[in-house]
Amino acid sequence: MPGSDAFDLRQFLRGDGRNAGVWIALAALILFGLARYENFGSAYNIVSFLNYNSMFIIISIGMCFVIMTGGIDLSVGSVAAFASVVAAYLSPYGIEVALPGGVLAGAAFGAINAFCIIAMRIPPFIATLATMLAAKGGALVISGAQTISVDWGSNFTKLGMEKAFNILPWTIVIVAIVAIVLWVVLEQTSLGRTVLAIGGSEDASNLMGLKVNRAKVFVYLLSGGCAGLAGVFLASGFGAGQPLEGIGWELSAIASVVVGGTLLTGGLGSVTATVAGALLLGLVFNILNFENGRGTISLSAYWQMVIRGGFLFVVILLQTRMNASRQKAG
């Protein structure tokens, strides 16, 4: 499959057939929503849903690459918060400056992660836990612990609040482009193959002469950059850089990646299924909101955390069972 040069839509959607479950679940949930709620299929709900979840999709894609190497990035939430503050400060110069600025700020933390993990040989979760603290501290320091309002006069807020060609939000267009590019990188390039090989066995990859360190630097830079981009979306969509945002985002991202069938031990993964996983997770909350609106249930914001954890729990259980049956079959 990796050898085929032509763009194969079926392969693009399915990965290699392992991820049917997430697409079925997504379709089922959408049908459920359409049948049960009047406004579920409205343009307003679809657009605002996609716009809000663009942040989580982009972070999940970056996380997916890290997890495929067998690593983890716990810093994405704070890094996104940091980048949102940077983007808010740069917003008077317009989107042309603020967008790359935010992404670079995120990538800089990715570089710190990569340095700690590769050069200092610190386990990924410790290194990225430390960066999570540092990014949070950094965000509070540069913002003076205040939300930083963006410049409404520049074109910066168009990114998060307006639609490309009056159809889809800009954020979703960007996410789609990033996802397609990274899908090609993963499925069609030696870099992508190396990422998967590292997760399969880092020692074997080294012995085979694969450029392991280069690929690892790439995934952490990518994850940082994706978190930075999410921060830019955050600042642009909500009109402010928010140093205290991003708590628990790493968990959502990990959950999306796992729902998408990427093995937490690395070696297997799919960009498209990760996107589907992020949409599925977002959809669960969207549907809960609709249920709240109908008055059938009344869940406080605190339930969100419980449900998020419970969702991750169920997904992990399913994945454990799937792995067990796959091992039996193979």
């Binding site: 386990p123 430390a130 603290l133 501290g137 950094g138 320091v141 339930w303 954890g309 454990t320």
Partner: protein, 333 residues
């Protein structure tokens, strides 16, 4: 990871040069402690006062107690990110119980239940983590991430996110009582450390614990009950976190589920690693964890007392964690 020696300490036989990486590795904690104390004695106003000692003891106790549990978990080559959330959960339950109608009607029973039930709930959290990790083979980071986020959520759902204030001298003794003039929780941390030290060094559980962390496959082949040992470590860690959660609530005479134990997992991991625990497992330096906790607390205090902002202190803490792990990391290579 897999070089598999059970006796990690014996490998180092060359004589280390003064202040080499080896010296830092073996005595880095003590050196750091002396440096921090010297710095404070010279530069921090009013550092050499009895009051300072009290403040630091009462605050270090919670870090130390959690760090002891974290050391046990790290000894099995695991990690527990849920300790802070478990603190919040235990801390939220206690006032709910002794402020309930039942607790008001039977004060003695209410207080007893306010100690027992939260610790039971905490232990159940540990059981959950342990089963996820040992029976379902979920990586410790991921397994404990579930309660890391939803444990605090449960605590906030239980209290509806409200701050619960109370005045209950019996319960508050846990956080404000004094024995021989020193804070009660300091003594409690010491007693718990002694008990766990005994458990690690004098019981079969302790032998198995180090064996599992040293080389899990070898331990399994040698007939060690690997799963039960791992579950035991996570249950103990959660139980100790529960105690720490109760202490925090008792100190404040109030329970705030959003803040109780927030970022404690980082302090505890840092304390355990500074104290000499190896993330690859196989070592359980209990008193090292206490030393590590004291260092972490003194760093916090030093920064605070010298007017460094909280935000900058976060960055300093991140640097300490990375540095400590880096120094420890070289040990096995």
């Amino acid at each position: 990871m897999s070089d598999g020696s059970l006796s990690n300490g014996k490998a180092v036989s060359r004589a280390p040069a003064p202040l080499s990486l080896g010296t830092l590795r073996n005595h880095g904690g003590l050196i750091a402690l002396v440096l921090i104390l010297a710095f404070n004695a010279l530069f921090t106003p009013n550092f050499l006062q009895v009051q300072t000692l009290f403040v630091n003891i009462s605050q270090v106790a919670t870090i130390a107690i959690v760090a002891i549990g974290m050391t046990l978990v790290i000894a099995t080559a695991g990690i527990d990110l849920s300790v802070g959330a478990v603190m919040a959960l235990a801390g939220a339950l206690a006032p709910l119980i002794f402020l309930s109608d039942f607790g008001q009607a039977y004060p003695a029973l209410g207080i007893a239940a306010a100690f027992v039930l939260p610790l039971l709930a905490a232990s159940l959290c540990g059981l959950f983590n342990g089963i996820m990790i040992s029976y379902l083979n979920v990586q410790p980071i991921i397994a404990t991430l579930i309660l890391f986020i939803s444990g605090r959520g449960i605590a906030q759902v239980l209290t509806n996110g409200n701050l619960q204030t109370f005045s209950n001298p019996y319960f508050s003794y846990l956080g404000t009582g004094k024995i021989l003039g020193l804070p009660f929780q300091g003594w409690l941390a010491l007693v718990l450390a002694l008990a766990v030290y005994w458990l690690v060094s004098r019981t079969i559980f302790g032998r198995y614990l180090l064996a599992v962390g040293g080389n899990e496959r070898a331990a399994r082949l040698a007939g060690a009950p690997v799963r039960m040992v791992k579950i035991g470590a996570y249950v103990l860690c959660a139980f100790l976190s529960g105690i720490a959660g109760l202490i925090v609530v008792a100190i404040n005479s109030a329970s705030d589920a959003a803040r109780n134990g927030n970022l404690m997992e980082l302090d505890a991991i840092a304390a355990a690693v500074v104290g000499g625990a190896l993330l690859q497992g196989g070592r359980a330096p209990i008193f090292g964890a206490i030393l590590g906790a004291v260092i972490i607390q003194l760093v916090k205090y030093t920064l605070l007392a010298n007017g460094v902002e909280d935000e900058v202190a976060l960055i300093a803490k991140a640097a300490i964690i990375v540095l400590a792990v880096y120094i420890q990391q070289a040990r096995k290579e």
